[in-house]
Structures are given as C-alpha cells and as structure tokens.
C-alpha cells in the first residue's frame, strides 16, 4: 500500500464545509496508512483555505506518524516558511513575539504560533497578536471590542480547562472578496469531554457521549461554577452569540470525536465516525470585517 497522500488544492474561496471535508479526508487517509512514515504530496496544491490549513498544521505537529512533505512549489515552500508550517512560531518573551510578528503587518496572515498555557502574560501575547490582526484587516474600531472579548474568553478557556501544555493561534484575513478574519485557536489538552470527566461534572447528562459534552460546553455549563452562583460558562456561549447573531459570522469547534458548527443557518452537533478523533480542542471562527451598523456589543453579553 502506498504511503503517499495527495494534498488537494483548497482555495480560500472554497466553501467552509468543503475545507473541513478535505481536512478530515487527509487525516483519515494518513491514519489509515500502515506505515510510520507518510508522505504528503503537494503537487496538486496551490492555495489553502485557513480552516483546512490550520488543523492540518496541528495534526502534522502532533501526529505519531513521521509526515514528510514533497513537491511543494517555490511559492508554497516560501509561504510555509513564513507561517512556520513545520515548526510553529514559539517564543519565550513577549519582545521576541513582537519582533517576529512585526514584519507581518503588511501581510494577510500571522505565523502559526504556539504559546505556553502556563505563561504569566497571556494578555500581553493577545494584545500583540490582536494589534497585528487589526492592522492586517484594516477593520474599523467597532471590531476591536468584540475581537478582544472573543479571543480573550477562548484563550482564557483553554488555559483554565484544557489541561494542556500549549495553546495555538493562527489567523488569516481575507480583506477583498470575503471580507473576514479567519481565526483558529487550539490546545493540546484533554478535550471538552475529558474536562467534564476529570471534574466529574454533568456526567449523568453526558454519559459517554462526546457530542453531548460539546453541547453542554457551548450552552455554558461550566466545570467551575460556584455552588450557589452560576458565574462561569459565559465565555463560549457569549462568543457564539456575539459572532453569529451579532456579527453574522461562523463558529466551529472540534474536540475529541465531536464537531460543532454554528452559523446563521443553525447549530449542529456532530458525532464523528469512530476512526476520527481529534486530540485536544480546536475553535475556528470566521469573523466578518464589516460590523453591522446596529451592532451593540453589550446586547450580546449573556446575563
């Protein structure tokens, strides 16, 4: 059996479902190969949708397989070098991050960044990354507050609940046709389901169903609520409400063997086939650059 997987061309204009389809297919094909070394052949690929590329980078980085890439065009080779496809951008000091990201102000993307979830200044990291994204997208001031909220709550969530060592962030602005910011935030933790199991919360509802765990997390059932005050669990639910209802964007979450999609057309929770299991959690958001005129940030903060 061949150990070669052909990476398809997944254009930035491609439908989001199609980008996920390709991503799951690559993972499935790679896992199926009974050989420690797998070759990803890029001879058919010229462009990549960020929602295809970001999970692919994570998967490659964390896979037990030795994944070798071949037949990359000079353009892709250079692009992969700039987004740190092979090694991710890691940093110890915020000044290092700031220096590394400074040349990206004129680009439409940031490198695939890996950060320590225990680092003391996650806020400082977010400020640096968000400043770059705002410059790249050329968005108005109205996007700043919802962006701060959404990124802040999601990053805070993974640092508090994932039990992981690292968090990851990648973004790409499509400022011409699509007019949106595509952001990926991920962790290498125990998954949403694992987090409920570890905390021994809501197990009567979840049973062994990862899809149900994802639904609870998205509806704001926190493992850390105080006994007499439900003060936690607003992060994801408010983020989704703000993004989907307020900004008309799309929200996706993949964790363990469950997938969640929420956009203006509705909300789906999906149990993936048994052979498909994502290590940790990944959130992907399509954030429209143009904020609707009547958008009122506080209106979407769940009370």
């Amino acid at each position: 059996m061949s150990n070669v997987v052909f990476i398809p061309n997944v254009d930035r204009d491609e439908r989001i479902g199609s980008a996920f389809n390709h991503m799951f297919s690559i993972i499935y094909q790679t896992e199926k190969i009974d050989n420690k070394t797998v070759v990803w052949d890029f001879s058919n690929a010229a462009f990549f949708h960020p929602f295809f590329l970001a999970p692919l980078i994570l998967y490659k980085n964390r896979s037990q397989k030795n994944i070798v890439t071949i037949n990359k065009s000079a353009y892709i080779d250079n692009y992969f070098r700039l987004i740190y496809f092979d090694d991710m951008l890691c940093f110890d000091e915020l000044a290092d991050l700031e220096n590394s990201l400074s040349p990206y102000k004129g680009k439409s993307y940031i490198p695939f960044c890996r950060f320590d979830l225990c680092q003391s200044n996650i806020d400082g990291m977010q400020t640096i990354i968000q400043d770059i994204i705002e410059v790249q997208s050329n968005a108005g001031r109205e996007i700043k507050t919802p962006l701060s909220y959404m990124l802040g709550e999601l990053i805070c969530n993974i640092s508090q609940h994932s039990d992981g060592k690292y968090g990851y962030i990648f973004s790409q602005c499509l400022s011409h046709k699509e007019k949106c910011i595509n952001i990926c935030i991920a962790d290498d933790g125990i998954s949403v389901f694992g987090s409920y199991v570890k905390a021994r919360r809501y197990l009567d509802i979840i049973d062994s169903n990862e899809m149900e765990a994802l639904r609870l997390a998205n509806e704001g059932y926190s493992t850390k609520d105080l006994p007499e005050s439900e003060n936690r669990g607003f992060g994801i639910s408010t983020t989704k409400r703000m993004l989907v209802e307020g900004l008309k964007g799309d929200f996706f979450m993949l964790s363990g063997s469950a997938f969640h999609r929420h956009d203006v057309n509705g909300s789906d929770y999906v149990k993936l086939p048994d052979m498909m299991n994502w290590m940790g959690t990944i959130v992907l958001m399509r954030i429209p650059i143009d904020v609707p005129q009547n958008f009122n940030y506080m209106e979407y903060v769940i009370r």
Binding site: T145, S148, Q160, N218, N265, G266, M276
Partner: protein, 113 residues
Amino acid sequence: MKKIIKIAELIGSDIRSRQNADHILNSIGNFSGVVELDFNGVEFISRSFADEVYTIAKENRDNVVLRNMEGIVDSMMSVVSESRTNKRVRKTENANMKEFSDMESLSAYLSTF
C-alpha cells in the same frame, strides 16, 4: 489610611484573563485600610476578569472599592454583578444532533455548508 491602585498602570488598558486579578491581590497584600481600585484609563475588561474583580471587591474583601469604571467596563461589571446575584436563566440552543458512522456520510453532511 487609603491605598489607590491604578489598574491601567498595574495591568494595562485591555484586560482579559482571570489571572490578572492576582496582580491586584498582590498589590493589596495585607493592607487593612481602604483600597481604591481606580479603573481610569481601562478601556476593556473581559467578563472573566470582571468576575474576579467582583469576588475581590464584593465577597472576599470588605475594604475594596471600585472607582472610575466607565463605558463598557462599567457595563460589564454590572452584568457580572447581576449574574452573581440572580439565578441564571438558561436558553437551550435549538440545535440538531447528528451521528455519522462512516466518512461518506460525514462528507455528505460537510458538503451542505
């Protein structure tokens, strides 16, 4: 005796993570007089951080007062205060639950959006 802690200087003007509350607690230390947390210059606080501030000012310490919260900072603090004193009313999401046992059916679903 009064101690004023300027939050913008201590943490920054955009404050997101819960852990930032530790900076405030460290600044307060064992001071037993009145502590004013001055939010002048703070433009954004996350709900998580607001929740921690609420715990410090309204539950754990009786000597801490909040000053100069304005705009969305003040609004967020009010939301947190409200949710800490009133029972949360949950809205169940109107969602579809789908199970796929093979890649073909998953692929067919993904092709719908």
